[in-house]
């Protein structure tokens, strides 16, 4: 039977089948009038070969490790090595966090991920007025190199890769990491890890910005340049969609806005004279994985393919490594419920599985109690086990991109790609990401999606088990992790002590030099490294930069 004949026969069969469907509908209407994902993509009753007719396997799907990388960025993927199991952690003091890190490494975690508290993320010391009540709450408090040294006590920096979720002050924390490594006798070129360093999304989805966009982009390109020469194995940026999704965007918006940010960073770097084929291989991404299992799997494949094409077409990237999208994924925090928290283990499992089937390179699974507070040791162990069970017991890691070829998955992959590209073109039309942020474009889109979602939950159109259906009367949860009140006091005390001990003259001199370099426009990294070595605090270093670059106010 020829191709055309097959097609005709399929169409005929489908029409016949439709009669059967109509009879069934007459007896039993379907649960909804229309089925669609929150991105507005239709979930058809069935997907057939007709839906993937236009998709050329060789051009659009291809093989893992080859352009456009739809099936994955390595030829052997999990058959060689599982994804990195990297649980984000950090709270309280550096000492407490260090203990949690050593526990997790002992339990089989394969990479470190540092969560910093809000004052640290916003470049304030623990004794700043705005830090009151915030010290050590959402992550570890790092005021100076002294804290960083404690954080990595007994952890060999040439043996672990460390991801640091730090954006506006990323240069300073990176400098501290380099200094700690030096003290351990580890040279910079051996360091492996990532800094999030993605300031653009801060302005419209996360809120831990410091400086306005232009100087922030300058700091980022400084980091690209410095790492190219000194930390060749370090991922200089983790272009993030996770937070965009958490803020309420759809899957398509998550891909679109993340890649738009990525394009802005590449553009900025190229404009400073960096060669795309030199720095692009060190870009990495960070996505969310949410509940709609099938859409999420398709999302990851679409993102990889779209990025590869954009890098080739817009920046003329030639090396495969410049077009490969490597990414970390975290399961969706916003999907966790405070009600019947054990249900969250099930949610996280489904989400983690979707990320694995989507070919993620690294994964964090949330703990069941995170709608209430930071996870207890027990909860975080279950989250880690979830990944280990998927890896070792489910069999899905034994073959690469197993859902490829599914009519539904391939169709949806293409649709997400197309819709995301529409958004990217729209942002181009607005003059790029920075202008779009100033116009409040992403904020509006995200706000609209978030509101629509809330409405669908309140009408129970979107069922959330335990929240708007299948509820129970439950007692208040017990044994939650609490950060002791004393922690903030202890941190302030150790900050005071450290300041008393250090060489004040050296600090002053280094801050003076920092100001000069900031004003001159030269690369900031070397002078920041010198400054942190004198035990100048994070707040002091960022304070100088705040004075020179100004502070951003919400648009």
């Amino acid at each position: 039977m020829s191709c055309t004949e097959k097609k005709a026969r399929l169409a005929e069969r489908q029409e016949q089948w439709q009669e059967m469907v109509d009879k069934a509908l007459a007896r039993f209407p379907e649960r909804k009038e229309a089925f669609a994902t929150t991105s507005g993509i239709e979930m058809k009753r069935v997907f057939t070969p007709a839906d993937v007719e236009e998709i050329d396997y060789n051009d659009e799907v291809g093989f893992p490790g080859e352009f456009p990388f739809t099936r994955g960025v390595q030829p052997t993927m999990y058959r060689a090595r599982f994804w990195t199991m990297r649980q984000y952690a950090g709270f309280g003091s550096a000492r407490q966090t260090n203990e949690r890190y050593r526990y997790l490494l002992g339990q089989g975690q394969t990479g470190l991920s540092v969560a910093f508290d809000l004052p640290t993320q916003i470049g304030y010391d623990s004794d700043h007025e705005l830090s009151d009540g915030e010290v050590g709450k959402v992550g570890v408090a790092i005021d100076s190199l002294a804290d960083m040294e404690i954080l990595f006590d007994q952890i060999a920096l040439d043996k672990v890769s460390t991801s640091m979720t730090i954006n506006a002050p990323a240069a300073v924390l990176l400098a501290m990491y380099i200094a700690v490594a030096e003290k351990q006798g580890v040279s910079s070129d051996k360091l492996r890890g990532t800094i999030q360093n993605d300031v653009l999304k801060e302005y419209f989805a996360r809120g831990t910005y410091i400086f306005p966009p232009r100087p922030s982009m300058k700091i980022i390109t400084d980091i690209f340049s410095y790492c190219k020469d000194n930390l060749p194995n370090w991922n200089t940026i983790s272009i993030s969609g996770y937070h965009i999704r958490e803020a309420g965007s759809s899957a398509v918006q998550e891909v679109a806005f993340t890649l738009a940010d990525g394009l802005a960073y590449v553009d900025a770097a190229v404009k400073t004279g960096l060669d795309v084929d030199v720095f692009a291989k060190r870009l990495s991404f960070f996505f969310n994985v949410h509940n709609n299992f099938l859409e999420e799997v398709a999302k990851f494949r679409a993102a990889r393919r779209l990025w590869a094409k954009l890098m080739k077409e817009r920046f003329g990237a030639k090396k495969a490594s410049s077009m490969m999208m490597r990414f970390h994924t975290q399961t969706a925090g916003c999907s966790l419920t405070a009600q019947q928290p054990d249900n969250n283990v099930v949610r996280v499992t489904m989400q983690a599985l979707a990320a694995v089937l989507g070919g993620t390179n690294s994964l964090h699974t949330n703990s069941r109690d995170e709608a209430l507070c930071l996870p207890t040791e027990d909860s975080v162990r279950i989250a880690l086990r979830t990944q280990q069970i998927i890896a070792h017991e489910s069999g899905v890691a034994d073959t690469i991109d197993p859902l490829a070829g599914s009519y539904m998955i391939e169709s949806m992959t293409s649709e997400i790609e197309a819709k995301a590209l529409e958004y990217i073109n729209k942002i181009d039309g607005l003059g790029g990401v920075v202008k779009a942020i100033e116009a409040g474009y992403m904020q509006q889109e995200i706000g609209d999606s978030a509101y629509a979602y809330q409405k669908s939950v309140e009408t129970a159109e979107q069922v959330i088990v335990g929240v708007n259906r299948f509820t129970i009367d439950e007692p208040a949860p017990k044994n939650l992790l609490r950060i002791k009140k004393e922690m903030e006091i202890e941190q302030l005390e150790s900050l005071r002590t450290m300041k008393a001990k250090r060489d004040a003259t050296a600090v002053t001199a280094s801050l003076k030099e920092l100001r000069q370099v900031a004003e001159s426009g030269d690369n900031l990294l070397p002078v920041i490294v010198s400054a942190v070595k004198t035990y100048a605090t994070l707040g002091e270093v960022c304070g100088v930069l705040r004075e020179v670059f100004g502070e951003y106010t919400e648009a």
């Binding site: 809000l118 004052p119 993320q121 916003i122 304030y124 007025e129 705005l130 830090s131 009151d132 009540g133 915030e134 709450k137 959402v138 801060e202 996360r206 809120g207 831990t208 958490e246 803020a247 309420g248 916003c334 419920t337 405070a338 009600q339 709608a371 209430l372 507070c373 930071l374 995200i446 706000g447 978030a450 509101y451 809330q454 939950v457 309140e458 959330i464 929240v467 708007n468 208040a476 949860p477 939650l480 609490r482 950060i483 919400e554």
Partner: protein, 132 residues
């Protein structure tokens, strides 16, 4: 004319997660209220000064960073100091159940946890504000 209910929605402290605050603001607007949203990174002093100038009936505080035990009571205390103790204060965010009694004692009239339908908040405000 029915007096419009004026609500201030504020984010004290350093927490930048504004999805909830924005969703609640829209829901209150759709319920016919006038909502002033301060944006993120407000000190308790800024929030109270704003509440006084805008002469709001109610104030909603959102905090997901765990700093609520420090910041929420501070806002209430300042409101009283400035003679605005009759403003109805409610809060939301990531707040463990065990903290709620303490917050209520400090003058926060209600805490709305994740999963609370916005209608509950709307009804609470309507039923509990003191309008002269």
């Amino acid at each position: 004319m029915d007096k419009k209910i004026k609500v201030l929605v504020a984010k004290p402290g350093l927490d930048g997660h504004d999805r909830g605050a924005k969703v609640v603001s829209r829901a209150l607007r759709d319920a016919g209220m006038e909502v002033i949203y301060t944006g993120i990174r407000q000190t308790p002093e800024q929030i109270v000064a704003t509440a006084v100038q805008e002469d709001v009936d109610s104030l909603g505080l959102s905090c997901l960073s765990g700093a609520h035990n420090k910041l929420f009571p501070k806002v209430v205390a300042l409101l009283k100091e400035k003679g605005a103790g009759d403003v109805l204060v409610f809060g939301g965010g990531i707040i463990p159940d065990e903290d709620i009694p303490g917050l209520k004692e400090a003058g926060i009239s209600a805490i709305f946890l994740p999963g609370t339908p916005t209608q509950v908040t709307i009804d609470f405000i309507r039923n509990n504000i003191t309008q002269a």
